[in-house]
Symmetry: C2
Subunit: 517 residues, 2 copies
């Protein structure tokens, strides 16, 4: 043990050393880690409070509470110019903005994260879990993790602990992780090497329909040398990762119609057309037996990868066998295709399907409707509305009359097969940042400096973010630096963040904030 006097002396020396440290000084890593260890319990308490505020983009009241909570966190960390960037339209979740300007810094980085989350169906969460009652577990539930309580403020966490709750990884971990990274630097008196701006969106999971407007209104404020997008999971191998781009995304909701009222399946079964069967046939016809989308022109427009991107792709370690084992399947949807090949193609995926009732609620009826929600992922070259149109044209080619409202009696009497197709208005295109930019190399070095293992440089994420809007409106260069564990159940029930990922992520962000330009 060190005596009190010695400890005091040690602290003073440390503080002096920290005070003298220059921007971009090497090895802030160990300092950030030590500070994290001291603060982690307090940080987790605050993070839990943050996760307790429901964050569905359409829930205005709670969205505002989230925004206020973040503003409060910003102010406590001496951020300046803290404000809500509002859409011109009323009722839109605001962007929470704050900045930490560094005298003399010649660079400006904006860190993006989002505080809203995907819709939740609490009934689907594991027993004992609720999306907005964050819970600490000793390990992943699928690894037999048990609910535990947070140690008191002198205690410490274990790397495998996880926090369950909506937004735990996607993407309140981004918001909190960034602010904690800055706090760690502040505590260590390490000055960031660039002006730091935070831009926390509140409707990313709703498709960012007002992002473009907000960017446009704040062009001056949002000038930067680079945008660091803090969202998504790291590589399945656990290695840290940078992604240069994202797939685009577009949605469609398809509804087919049976009888106007639910019918007894005995009295009318197989005379009155069953919408669940109609929908099954319609969906089944969208892919061939090898998982290829059989919609005309679906793979047209795809802009091929550059030589450098292809090379980068080849360097990405394959997680295919690991993931097949982990996810419990043997054969890819398109047999023989690798995950990397798959995410570099446009996709068509059924998110959900519903007709009548199943299981215990199942009754002997012909349902009145059958509904499917579909998401289309897009790669460079695809236009999201054109991609939607291809699906609609396909449905028409199968003899359906496509409408965008519930059919009237007259429509039903027309003798035509009716399908309602609702286009999601929240789509956007893919985006990819040029691999050869100096920014890419600098960020890569910074992230690599925090990890012994080689980091993964991915030409594109499979997931989507509205990055093409940043490029279009601001000419911004975006780089995605995710931190979450790959098995975080992002978008689904039992969303979680593994604590080691959270802590490593804070180190990653601190490293980017102190890039040696």
């Amino acid at each position: 043990m060190i005596s009190i006097a010695a400890r005091f002396h040690f602290k003073v020396v440390l503080a002096l050393l920290l005070f003298l440290s220059l921007p971009g000084v090497a090895q802030p890593l160990s300092q950030v880690r030590e500070i994290r260890k001291k603060k982690e319990i307090g940080w987790l308490k605050t993070f839990s409070e943050f996760l307790s505020i429901p964050n569905i983009a359409s829930d205005s009241n709670n969205i505002r509470k989230n925004a206020a909570f973040i503003q409060e966190m910003m102010i406590r960390r001496q951020l300046t110019n803290v404000q809500l960037l509002e859409s011109k339209e009323p009722g839109v979740p605001p962007v929470v903005y704050g900045e930490y300007l560094v005298p003399g810094a010649s660079k400006t980085l904006i860190f993006y994260a989002h505080y809203d989350g995907q819709p939740v169906n609490p009934a689907q969460w594991a027993t004992g879990l609720h999306p907005f009652v964050p819970a600490l577990y000793s390990d992943a539930i699928f690894n037999k993790g048990q609910a535990i309580t947070l140690p008191d403020s002198n205690g410490h966490t274990q790397p495998e602990w996880r926090i369950y709750g909506r937004g735990a990884s996607d993407d309140k971990a981004g918001v909190a992780g960034l602010l904690y990274a800055l706090e760690a630097l502040q505590t260590a008196r390490i000055r960031p090497s660039a002006n730091i701006k935070f831009f926390f969106e509140g409707e990313e999971e709703a498709g960012s329909p007002h992002l473009e407007g907000i960017l446009k209104q704040n062009r001056e404020l949002l000038k930067a040398d680079g945008w660091i997008i803090c969202d998504g999971p790291v590589h399945q191998s656990g290695r840290k990762m940078i992604a240069l781009g994202v797939r685009g995304d577009a949605h469609l909701e398809i509804t087919v119609y049976g009888p106007v009222r639910p019918l007894h399946s005995g009295h009318y079964g197989n005379w009155v057309p069953n919408p669940a069967m109609t929908l099954s046939k319609l969906l089944a016809g969208m892919k061939d037996d090898r998982g290829r989308v059989s919609i005309r022109g679906f793979y047209d427009d795809v802009q091929p990868l550059t030589t450098a991107e292809k090379k980068a792709l080849l360097a990405v370690p394959s997680a295919d066998e690991q993931m097949k084992h982990e996810l419990g399947f043997e054969e890819a949807e398109t047999p023989g295709q690798s995950l990397m090949e798959a995410i570099n193609q446009p996709s068509l995926n059924i998110n959900g399907m519903a007709s009548g009732n199943t299981g215990k609620l199942s009754a002997n009826v012909i349902p009145t409707t059958a509904i499917a929600n579909i998401d289309l992922r897009l790669v460079l070259g695809n236009d999201w509305q054109r991609q939607q149109q291809k699906v609609i044209d396909h449905i028409r080619s199968k003899g359906f009359m496509v409408i965008d409202y519930d059919p009237t009696a007259t429509d039903r009497q027309s003798g035509k097969k009716l399908v309602k197709v609702t286009r999601g208005l929240d789509g956007y295109n893919a985006q990819r940042t040029d691999l050869s930019l100096p920014l890419v190399q600098k960020v890569k070095q910074a992230v690599q400096s925090t990890s012994k293992e080689p980091i993964v440089l991915l030409p594109t994420l499979g997931g989507s973010l509205p990055l093409y809007v940043f490029e279009k409106q601001l000419g911004a260069k975006t780089l995605i630096v995710p931190i979450a564990n790959h098995d975080n159940n992002q978008h689904a029930e039992n969303e979680n963040i593994r604590l080691e990922n959270f802590w490593n992520g804070i180190e990653t962000y601190a490293a980017i904030m102190t890039i040696d330009w």
Copy 2:
């Protein structure tokens, strides 16, 4: 106006006349009707109380409350030997039995109805309706009927009024209608022409798994010249109806598997197989594009109709155009096929289908499972378990490994396409009573005596009842005499009974109770 003395005198004469009336006396119809008009408000009050008791077969506690309520109704109507016929297995809904023996009667009729109802999903019911809060409406909701309150006991009902609630038509209307018919005869002092026994089942909608055992244990008690099955809707034309048989029924639940945990559809979309697509393809392959089941041997085993049955079938008025208009479709599932042709064939119908979430809850995921519930209707010649097996064999023929449990990690690593198929254990075969039996003619005459319009004699109902069990265990002759309106939403949300149908049904039952043998 008649003076009080004159009215008294009139009543005495009437009572004397009624007292002297013989079994099977003609024209009880107008008396039953007059009594009904006096009692209808009170009857509806009791009926509402009855409907307020939830009646899902698996809900033991409430099922017992229903049984007790019926016993009380029986006792109030001087029934004797009132008892619960229990299964030897514990926890099974009992049959409620009671009898009204007529001195000197040489015939015995047993009236069957069931007091349990189909599962409910309250969320699907119309605004303001709840399955177990019966509500009186001025007309069908789809005809813009409004919620109204019951008149006081001197008031009267209107023919188009409807009562909404689970069991309102299927089949508490049968239970109450029978007891009210007897009460009307008792009040009018018209003696039934046969010993009357009531047999009210409590798990018909769960597939009557214990009915056979209960019949077997009570063979002596249940000896009868005929069973009148009081369930189902009258003909779509509104005409009264007798059906000689029913289709059989069998169920299957099909579950296909995606990843062990829900996945972000961007990061894994179209690499990890999507169970909703797999299920769609599987279901789509079960029927050809003309609605014919394409499962090998599905239409084998069918025993053709007799010449007399074919003739009866030809005499059934076609409701096809009316129903197409009413239900909002133009083309039968198998184009050109009539409803009567359809219900004389085995069928395959999807009752429900579910994967992930749809609508507002839809999220960008690959779901973990996709489930479909299927019911198979059977005609004479089909065996319910053999019919299930044909579907299972079909699934196997598509390259799936069929299991009857959730797959283990080892199953998933086998590289086989996995499907869980759960056979419903509640299936049973079709049944049809011989058209030439004297009983059929007597019941036909009795029902015809209550209606100006020619009644409909249907060789088989499209729906199912476990009537083959009665024949097998008791050698019973069964005849189905339904009373509900055809648009009663039986088995689904917004189930209802139209009051004119209820009142007409009571007259029908009273007529059968007073058949002139």
